[in-house]
Amino acid sequence: MTNMILALVLGAFFGLTLNKAGLTRYSKIVNVFRFTDMTVLKFMMTALIVSMAGLYGLRELGLITFPNIPATYIAGNAIGGLIFGVGMALTGY
């Protein structure tokens, strides 16, 4: 139950960052594919760097254990990504 409330709170912060980065708009998403607005990449890569450093640091300190790492199956990841990109460019989600 506590975990469900935590999910709600974490989700709220997640949604807040998406809103404040402007990623709830079609134009922000599609313009990264046109190289006219790199917000998506700046946002995503900053988040990646911060969380990588945080997670690996905390694991070194013995404070966390990693959850199940998303499975790698090259063909699936690649084909799924190719299909996903079409939808993303069309809808801007």
Partner: protein, 177 residues
């Protein structure tokens, strides 16, 4: 303090600041909940609930019983939270308004008709969810959450997503690209 509040209320933050915030949320979700920030999986959970109510036999299989259990999962709660957070963000900058077809760039490219926006959103979302299902996650659940654990899958997915995204917008925008 008041300048901080003023900065918070801005409609758009620097993407770097928002990115740092998301990075912290990503770390916290592993730390406190032992979970990853996945958004697309919640659709399967919800679809399973609906499916079991309508056609229990068709949905009584391994996928909807174990892989994507048809119940209110952590991911579903996260999704609800995302909506609340986005809503609060829009309220904080006083930019909240209800629109059915609000994006000017969209209208310039596809035309002003609302049914087109909704129709293509519906179709595009099916493509999105299908792709995410095959790849094992979406931008948040695989690209960001997988990437922060250095999963190779995430980087294959990001590369493929950008390749087809660029190609699709080239086709859609043609001379206006």
């Amino acid at each position: 303090m008041s300048t901080l509040i003023q900065q918070f209320r801005k409609q758009l933050w620097s993407p770097y600041i928002a990115g740092i915030a998301l990075g912290i949320v990503g770390v916290l979700s592993v730390w406190v909940s032992d979970s990853l920030l996945g958004a697309s999986g919640a659709f399967e959970n919800l679809a399973g609930i609906l499916g079991k109510a309508v056609a229990p036999q068709a949905f009584d299989n391994m996928y909807f019983n174990f892989i994507m259990p048809s119940e209110i999962t952590w991911g579903v709660m996260l999704l609800v939270g995302i909506m609340i957070g986005g809503f609060l963000g829009a309220l904080s900058s006083r930019s909240f308004k209800l629109t059915v077809n609000g994006d000017t760039q969209w209208k310039a490219i596809f035309g002003p008709q609302t049914w087109k926006r909704w129709g293509l959103a519906f179709l595009g979302a099916i493509i999105l969810e299908y792709g995410a299902g095959i790849a094992g996650g979406c931008t948040s659940g695989l690209a960001i959450s997988g990437g922060m654990l250095l999963a190779p899958a995430a980087f294959i997915f990001i590369a493929a997503m950008f390749a087809s995204g660029i190609l699709t917008s080239l086709i859609v925008y043609r001379k206006r690209y």
